[in-house]
């Protein structure tokens, strides 16, 4: 077990992968720690520290209510991280299911599913999410679900084309000859063979999810105050841009590096192939 992990790491030991891994790990730790501990209470206001610049006690400074920005960025990272995680989870699971069935079986079902899929795919995911939100109202759960649904088509498309490629290969035929049921062929044999493609598309999907979530929460949809979210912090910071530019800078940089980490990881994985 340990040996195989070591082997995988050696295989992916390139600059992009390591760089991406470090950034992603830092954000992961921040997100997990953010669940239990933040340096200051994220909703505690302090008038004396209103819009104060970064200092030793408050390394990212304070916002317009005197709340510690670092703590709020931590909470925002946590929220964005988990919303994106569940978005990708919903999108990829449903995408794999739809893509696998339509790619493996083909025929009329495939044509119907893919026509609907193409229509949805052509629509920008933020817009699709906005439509779903306009139907069911906003809130963290709805946004996660809406983004998850909006991400299904892109996964389904990739998975379907992979399944179409794999379904005619010898190992699938021999598995069938050995009497393996379709479900086993689909989810055990083929799925494990398309894993590398899946991993990189999951990472790209995660990036898109982070960007989409940030955009939606900038518009005021999604995580509701007083809970912190990176997008909403940016929109609040805009009113104080001249007075305290760092209020906008830190949540923005958090988004940038979060996305950068994952895209570097994806780059590193594809470079190792």
């Amino acid at each position: 077990m340990l040996n195989s992990i070591r082997k995988t790491f050696r295989k992916y030991n390139n600059f992009f992968f390591n760089f991406g891994m470090i950034i992603t790990l830092v954000f992961f730790v921040l997100a997990v720690v953010g669940c239990f501990y933040t340096p200051y209470n994220t909703t505690e206001m302090n008038v004396a520290l209103k819009n104060s610049a970064p200092a030793l006690a408050h390394i990212f400074g304070c916002d317009n209510y005197g709340r510690d920005i670092f703590s709020r960025v931590m909470e925002g990272i946590r929220n964005t991280f988990f919303i994106s995680f569940f978005t990708v989870l919903i999108g990829s699971l449903m995408g794999i299911l739809i893509g696998a069935i339509s790619g493996y079986y083909g025929g009329k079902l495939d044509e119907i599913l893919m026509r609907i899929n193409d229509v949805m795919f052509a629509f920008p995911s933020v817009l699709l999410a906005l439509v779903i939100i306009s139907l069911f109202g906003s809130g963290t759960m709805v946004v996660t679900l809406a983004l998850g649904i909006a991400f299904i088509p892109s996964f389904a498309r990739i998975v379907r084309s992979e399944y179409k490629k794999q379904a005619s290969l010898d190992y699938v035929q021999s598995a069938k000859l050995m009497g393996a049921k379709d479900i086993r062929v689909i989810f055990v044999h083929i799925l494990s063979n398309i894993l590398p493609v899946l991993v990189s598309s999951v990472m790209i999907g995660f990036n898109n999810a982070v960007l989409a979530e940030a955009g939606l929460s900038y518009l005021g949809i999604g995580v509701q105050p007083p809970e912190a979210s990176l997008g909403r912090m940016l929109s609040e910071a805009q009113s104080y841009l001249f007075l305290s530019p760092w209020y906008a800078l830190f949540p923005g940089l958090a988004i940038v590096f979060m996305v950068l980490g994952f895209s570097m990881l994806a780059e590193g994985i594809s470079a190792a192939k």
């Binding site: 009329k108 044509e111 119907i112 026509r115 609907i116 193409d118 229509v119 052509a122 629509f123 920008p124 995911s125 933020v126 817009l127 906005l130 439509v131 939100i133 306009s134 139907l135 069911f136 990036n207 960007l211 940030a214 955009g215 900038y218 518009l219 940016l234 929109s235 910071a237 805009q238 841009l241 001249f242 530019p245 906008a248 923005g252 988004i255 940038v256 590096f257 979060m258 996305v259 950068l260 895209s263 570097m264 780059e267």
Partner: protein, 333 residues
Amino acid sequence: MVRICIAVHGALNKLKLNNYYFRKILSLAATLLVISFLVFAAFEIIPGDPALSRLGTNATPERIAALRAEMGLDKPFLVRYFLWMTECIRGNFGTSYSYNVPVMSMIGEKLPITITLTILSMSITMIVSVPLGIMLAKYAHRTFDKAGFIANQTIMSVPAFFLGILFTYIFGLVLHWFKPGGYVSYKQSIIGFIGFLIVPAIAIAIPKCAMSIKLLRAAVLQEADKDYVRTAYSRGNSTMQVMYRHVLKNALIPLVTFWGMAVADVIAGSIVIEQVFNIPGLGRVLLTSISNRDYPVVEAVILLIAVVVVLMDLVTDILYRRIDPRVRGNEKG
């Protein structure tokens, strides 16, 4: 609905109607029909009676019934869809619930703003990314290329609205190159209008540029080893000539697909960017009508964007066939 599309598809196959554009346009029309049906159905299943919400809480049953009849809500679902659809084709998207004005006039005013923003940012993307992508490919695997790659990857990670905020701070508040929030209507002055929109357009374009550059670099590198490139060199062409006259034609093919899809993305992105720069465009209309539950407006905006998406698909296809004769050659339908 989907069945109809497939049936139409099958019938066409039998008729051996091989005129490509005819088939394409027909299938796009079918796609639009599916979208319109889905949009209409989606806003139909949500709970809530538009007549009730328009009259408020102290409405009498008679008045509700009268308004329902006036709004056509008493007819069966499919009849209403058909009526709505025919009106939409004629350019009448109904009346806004919250403002009680025709949706078309509400959207019509805002449309030029979003269209200008989209055209500006797409043009910037195309003009900037082609030379930069080729340059990166030319210096492939050297320090310049590696630095470019990391810069590119970083830029790709920056959300457009954060770039917009940074621009507002740097160019608006510090350097005073433009006035933040000082939107100029196109009715007042076209130059002022475009001058203001150029900054948001750049903010939208930069991440798209990074993406295009990455795609183009990969495509050029893939082409660079091919025989025709060597032949072109051996005939005495300079690197520039080979790149722009020969390689670019082939390398543009994946890029055209990306740009075609990026248009819809840019429109979606402009919804957020319009908030950053305080531009009263289509995005603003969409957001307020979503929060007001003003469904005719939401439906109209979505349909309009769907039309754009479908049209871009057609344009991409036409461009494809112009750039790449192979697509025209082996056509199965």
